[in-house]
Structures are given as C-alpha cells and as structure tokens.
Symmetry: C2
Subunit: 237 residues, 2 copies
DNA sequence: ATAGAAACTTCACGGCGTATAGTTTGCTCA
DNA sequence: TGAGCAAACTATACGCCGTGAAGTTTCTAT
C-alpha cells in the first residue's frame, strides 16, 4: 500500500505547497488579481492545467489561500494577546488592536483577500471561505471583551441580545473559553470587532487617504475612546 | 456651429446614459464582475469597441459608475439628515446611520463598488475614484459631529489633532459649513465614520453571517452606544 | 516485467480588454 | 445641392484568462 511518507506523496505535498507559496508571492507583488493559474504555472515551469491535479478549481485554490492568510492573521493577534498576559486590560486591548492594524498594513493584499472581493470572479463557498479562522479572530476579541467585562458590564445592562442571536459554532468556542461572558458581552465583542475593522478597512482601501494624512493618529484616538467606552481609563500617551 | 441641443449631441448623451444604466443593471443583477464592455454592448446590440467612443477605457467607465453610485449614497444620507432638521441630535444621528445601512443593504453591489475592489483589474485613479462624493459623505458626518459637539466636547479635550492632519479639500468644505468644529471634532467625525462603516462593511461582505443572525440588532446597539459616547442619551427602544 | 495510476502536456473553446484599420452615417458649409 | 469631413460604429486580431477532453510520460506496486 502507499504508506505514509512515500516519495510520491512527499513530492505531491511539496508541489502543493509551492503552488500556494507562488500564489501568495504573486499576490504580494502584483495584487490579488495576479492570482491566475497560468501565471502560477508559468512561474513554476508548468502548464496551467497541471494545477488541476492539486486544486479542483481556481476558486478552490483561492479559498485555500484565504484560509492560510486568515490563519496567519489570527496567529498574529493571538500572539500579541498571549504576549501580555499580566498587563492591565486597557494596554492588552490596545496591543491587540495595534497587532491587527499592523498586520493589515504589512499585508494589505492579504487583508483584501480576507475581507473584500479579492479576485476577479471568485465566489466564496457556502458559509464563508474560512469560518474557522473567522471564529478564532472573533474568539480573540471575545477575550478582549471578557477582560473588560468586569468594568464594562454596568454600561451594557439592558442589551437585547440572547444566545440565540449568535452562530452556534461560534458559541461552542466562546462559551467554554469565557464562561463569565453573557450574550451582551459577545455582542460587545462583535461591536468592538466592527469598530476596529472599520477604521482599518477604510485605511487599507484608501478611503481615508482623501481625508486625513494621519490615519495612525486617528486609530490611536479611536482606541483610547474605545477603551474609555469599556469603562477603563487609557494610559496617557 | 454645432450649437447646444443638437441632434448629434443629444444622441450621444442618450447613448452615454444607456451605457451607464445597462452597466448598473448588470452590476445589480450579476454582481460587479458582470460589468464588462462586451456584456454591455451585447445588451445594447452594439460592439464592445463602440463603447470606446464614449469611455476611453473600461476603468474610466467604472470610475464614472463609482462617482454616480457614490453620489446616490451621498444623496440618500443627506436627504435623511435634511428630513429631521428639528429632531434631537441622538435621533438625527440614528436616522442618518440607518439611512446609510439601509442604502448599503439595498445596494450591496454598489457598496462593494464604492468601498471594495469591485471589478477584476480595476485600478482607482490618483486621489481616489470619487473624492467629491467621499467628501460629501464625510461632510455629512461632520454634521453629525457638529450636532453632538456641544455635548461631546469635554470628552475629547486632549485630542492630538490639528488642521494640518486633514486633507485640504475636505477642510475647504467642512470649515465653512461648521465653523464651530475644531480639529478634534473633524477627527471625531472620521472616527464615527469608521465605526459605522465597520459594522456595515462586515455585514455586506458576509463576515457577520458566520457570527450573528441579528446584524440589525447589533447595529442598533452600536448606535445606542455611539450616541452615548457622544455624551447624548439615546431614546429607549 | 507489467498493469495501472498519477502527473503532466497539448489542443481547444469561449470570454475578456483593447489596439488598428476600415466602413457607414449624418452634419456643415460653399 | 453636393462635396467634404468628422463622428459612430464594425471587423479583425492579439494576448490574456479558466477550464474541459484527450493523449503522453513517469513512477509504483504487484
């Protein structure tokens, strides 16, 4: 039988990895539009059709890339969060947010790939391209909300949210991780998420460029206000 | 001389309008990817190349569409704002925000056209595709900030913003319109903008679908908190 | 050694944007 | 009125794209 570790399989895995890597390189250098089977194949000295042996379709390849890039983003913010276990909540939240923005600025194409309509005719599969990574990021933010919850709870007393308002798979991750966080806290997490995403998204897509020359300062100030709105006082400067 | 109102010019204007209208129809029915010169021409019983008589390039057409759609969005929110001249600030702001979200939900393709990478290889021209409309929307939000400023001012006392942080053309619109609004107020406007944009953008691109089944409720709650963070108490319900 | 599977190529089709060149149409002015 | 001209439009072609079908090579398991 074709046992694990056979030469055939190893080559196959290597080629698969090379396809993805070349695709990411093309995306980084020439934008998401450059992710074409023919360009990848050209770069690899192959025929475009050879790629069909590894990915059923171009959209399949793109979906895989999205999963990979999204996971990288999730890793980046999780690492930032894990790096400040003992810091006060305000500082932890700002660290997380800056990790998010920094990643986006360092990987603008990746950000577009994840959060936009990145590639010509690409149609995301049922339920989103990378629900797992999306949940990881969201769970990360739930961590922010959980850290702030003792201070913020009284501000969100009459929230209309119930568990049934949320996606089950998401709750399966969040509820065990943060048993003290009620529905209002999860909603708070999503709203924080929207807030951070909003400014970064405007910046990455260039919609702030026509308005301010200091997007970083704007983000900084928004963060300070966000922290304040959580009932925590931000540190100065 | 070919005086104004000549038959030639009228036909030309009609054809130009039809091209744009067909393009918008295709976008609405089949998504932004459907905006191809060949498809438009097919629909009009013409050759794709005939369109080059009206638009220098496909990207030119797309830029024109973006301007048009962006203007429609600006009209929608301006109308909502103008419709509640005497209401309390909290209500006006919520009306504006709902007009924005409702427009986005009713014109998701238009939203993507404006705020995403909408069409295959489209590259926005220098300075953005529609800086005028972008400034109009931003000026509208400055109106929100201006309305809230008397209540909110003390919250943003030590803002680090100065006039030089903003785009000159934007300030040319905002400063005369809201002479009482300092740099910190303009920054507040941009941050409000990012906040509203963030949730709507996540919703339109389907990134909330994997997390909550009640995006409207989430938006509602974010709005209530936004108004509260401006120093105004939101109405109940 | 050989049958078969896997990897890869070749060829083909239709769709895309757009450059070039040619044709028709309608207006203007002598 | 008719000659000339410009605008509107078509035809053809090129090089991209994704992808299907069929053929060829190469490796592997028996």
């Amino acid at each position: 039988m074709g046992s694990t570790g056979g030469r055939r399989e190893r080559l196959r895995a290597e080629t698969t990895a090379e396809i993805k890597q070349v695709a990411l390189k093309l995306m980084a250098s020439d934008g998401p539009d450059a992710i074409t089977l023919r360009a990848i194949a050209r770069e690899m000295g192959m025929t475009a059709n050879a790629i069909y042996g590894y990915f059923a379709t171009r959209d399949d390849l793109v979906t895989t890339l999205i999963k990979e890039v999204y996971t990288a983003l999730a890793d980046a913010v999780d690492t930032a969060w894990a790096g400040t276990p003992a810091a006060p909540p305000a500082e932890r939240i700002q660290t997380w947010a800056h990790a998010f923005r920094d990643w986006a600025l360092a990987n603008p194409e990746g950000f577009r790939l994840i959060y936009g309509d990145p590639v010509p005719g690409y149609l995301a599969p049922e339920g989103g391209a990378a629900p797992d990574a999306a949940h990881r990021v969201c769970t990360g933010i739930a961590g922010l909300a959980d850290a702030a919850w003792p201070h913020a709870e009284h501000l969100y007393a009459h929230s209309a949210f119930e568990w049934s308002d949320f996606d089950g798979a998401l709750l399966d991750e969040i509820r065990p991780a943060f048993p003290g966080l009620p529905p209002a806290g999860v909603a708070l997490a999503l709203r924080i998420w929207g807030r951070l995403h909003g400014l970064v998204s405007l910046e990455i897509y260039g919609h702030l460029r026509t308005q301010t020359v200091s997007p970083g300062k704007l983000f900084q100030e928004e963060l300070a206000q966000l922290v304040r709105s959580l009932g925590i006082e931000p540190e100065d400067t």
